[in-house]
Symmetry: none
């Protein structure tokens, strides 16, 4: 038994919209433990849609359609499915009544066009749409095939899925086995290096372990199949523990943790505070830190010292050092960190100065060269050099710079 997701809509083929419905349904199927091996997108074209149905019933039993249920002539999903299975369409008076009622609520009169939405295949059940005019269907046209149709509007689809499809599938016995996952998140180690360290775990049957490369970071996803979330957690826990041991400090958190949230918790637990001084990131580090509600407990602010004059005026960087060593130098990074820390009287001062490109690089100071400064208690101050690569894009170098600064502070906060 397995399911296939079929999204119908020429707008998907034109790239006008992002296919969020597939992602939603994929997550939902995983949670219910329903295997799902294929997703297909096809336009509003009856012949091609029929071919897709033909293929889908050869490899799946549950066919989930979204899109093409609207009132306009290009909405053909329901009649094409009926035609494929040789069933006549029947007008259902309860749908007409429901649509009429919804129009009346909005002070409008149902248009004749909407009558089309009341036609469903003989033998199908109505899958009610509480908010929109297009109902879906649940239909077993053959003993081994179950069909669900949903409108393409995400909010309508989500609600119909939750309120009717999920209970229906649970009644059929699904959801007894669920898939529950934990994503471990890593910074400072590449995908291949991490994969080599944890390679034996990729062969586990349950839970499974798989690596994913994100934006400058790597994740390991531990997925367990079990009768309940608690049982899945029990399977995940020992594997999570050993993976964390192998990875050591390179593993910074799990699931919704971010470098900023982890750093924030470490600061909060010690009642310490942080300020930042940003040059090439231009505010990106501050933004990451303040994405977290409640970050005002430990983040006091900072300076965007984009121009050299700002480094001198707002941070007290020595103009002669700027002249002699340049804005992108260890000395200036350290003075920026010290400057912001002392001006805002925080426990830690974290600074970034670098060349984000695409212009501004030289042979000795290429694009991607970034210095991070960290000033702390007892006059501690250090700078760190990074070369993120001359071919990387500006946005990515800025992202790596801010994340690396947070990661440096994280490692420092754990070292005591």
């Amino acid at each position: 038994m397995s399911a296939e997701i079929i999204c119908v809509g020429t707008e998907l083929l034109l790239g006008d919209i992002l296919n969020g419905n597939s992602q939603y349904l994929a997550q939902q199927l995983a949670q219910l433990g329903i295997p799902h091996y294929y997703q297909t997108v096809v336009g509003d074209n009856p012949e091609r849609l029929k071919q897709v149905i033909e293929i889908a019933i050869s490899r799946a039993n549950i066919l989930i359609f979204t899109g093409g249920l609207g009132p306009t002539p290009d909405d053909l999903t329901c009649e094409t499915i009926a035609d494929f299975f040789g069933a006549p369409l029947v007008e259902r008076p309860e749908i007409i009544e429901d649509i009429t009622h919804k129009f009346a609520q909005r002070g409008r009169v149902m248009t004749p066009t909407n009558r089309k939405q009341a036609l469903i295949p003989q033998g199908a059940e109505i899958l009610p749409n509480p908010t929109g005019t297009a109902p879906g269907i649940i239909w077993q046209p053959r003993p081994e095939v179950t069909i669900f149709t949903f409108p393409g509007v995400p909010s309508e689809m989500y609600r119909m899925w939750q309120e009717t499809a999920v209970p229906f599938l649970q009644n059929q016995g699904w959801g007894k086995e669920i898939i529950h996952s934990r994503s471990l998140r890593f910074w400072g180690i590449g995908e291949s290096a991490l994969a080599e360290k944890v390679a034996p775990y990729f062969d586990l049957p349950n839970p499974t372990v798989a690596p994913y490369a994100g934006k400058g970071e790597v994740r390991l996803r531990i997925s367990a199949k079990a009768p309940s979330e608690a049982a899945a957690e029990e399977l995940i826990a020992p594997v999570e523990k050993v993976l964390k041991e192998i990875a050591g400090l390179d593993c910074y958190g799990a699931d919704d943790d971010t470098l900023a949230s982890v750093v924030g918790e470490l600061l909060r637990s010690q009642s310490e505070t942080l300020s930042v001084a940003e040059s090439c990131t231009g505010g990106g580090l501050g933004q990451m830190l303040t994405e977290i509600a409640g970050s005002s407990d430990y983040f006091w602010g900072g300076v965007i010292s984009y121009d050299n004059s700002a480094k001198v005026r707002l941070l007290g960087v020595n103009p002669e050092d700027l002249q002699q060593f340049g804005a992108v130098s260890p000395v200036v990074a350290e003075q920026m960190a010290i400057g912001v820390k002392s001006r805002l009287e925080t426990t830690w001062g974290l600074s970034i100065t670098g060349i984000a490109g695409p212009g501004g690089g030289t042979d000795t100071k290429p694009v991607g060269l970034v210095y991070i400064g960290l000033a702390g208690p007892n006059d501690e101050v250090k700078s760190f050099e990074y070369r993120f690569g001359t071919m990387r894009e500006r946005a990515f170098i800025r992202h790596l710079s801010a994340c690396t600064a947070l990661d440096l502070l994280r490692r420092r906060l754990l070292m005591r």
Copy 2:
């Protein structure tokens, strides 16, 4: 002749990631005028992937694969395609060299695992990956079949598509009848209000006009079908002109313009400079401004005055006013703008102070209340009040705040 997009990755079947690659490729195919009727998603499973290839070559000639080119054992796309068409894999020394070089640039050593990425089917051309380690291929395993493979990492895929795949397809004669579009971008007007103003234009046959709602902004997409970009531009120009006239100042730009880039050009053209003082956005406004390479010509920096102490120490906000009116008040917004402008000696000072939530709201100062201050030449200073709504998410309120600040400055710079 038509193309099919095949995205490979179990993470797509689990709903872990949104399939943005399909959308990107779909848009690109439309622009080149390459018909495209199906998109398929399949997991990292050789048998199922082979079945997908079998189906795809029966209905399309150009197969575009993304995903599964990484160094780990579950990345199987390339070898599965080679196996399907009965071609041996060959290790290409130039790929080994390229990967070694990229690792060296980052101060790392290539791991043995990465050798796998140098294996490509005999007879295939390398599709170079300028930024990552996984190259793609362009391959005609049979006269009527052309295969492209790309890594799943979007930024790598986009660049490889633009730099190699597009010229290759154009050489093959594609792109003769192209679809060329212009997106007009609006701030300060809602989708339905804009739609009502320009409704008659939605019925045009060529170019077509369609509205899209973005993140707090609205776009009108004008799409023309023509033999060349120049011919399409000729169709688009008169419609663009009249739509801009109807919209007036609400239209801030087109295509890749951002509020920050438009403000930047206005400042640059007058040799004026800008500094910012940010409270609830925490650096987001500075980040938007510095996303633009060359923004150092007019953006000198600013202060992230997250904590009240930073407002007093770094911006000279009056502590008594802070006490009496609160940090989220017109007075404080104005003092922040004046403070940063005078400290950095810029033409303009722009400030934001507000309640981004989810906590911190009161009856009189609810979540979503934001004050924007603008200080300019001749002691000009003003503040503006916004109520972005108590139900909005923190990230969205912060985004709206930064964009609205830029839009305010844009409108002011145009008023002279």
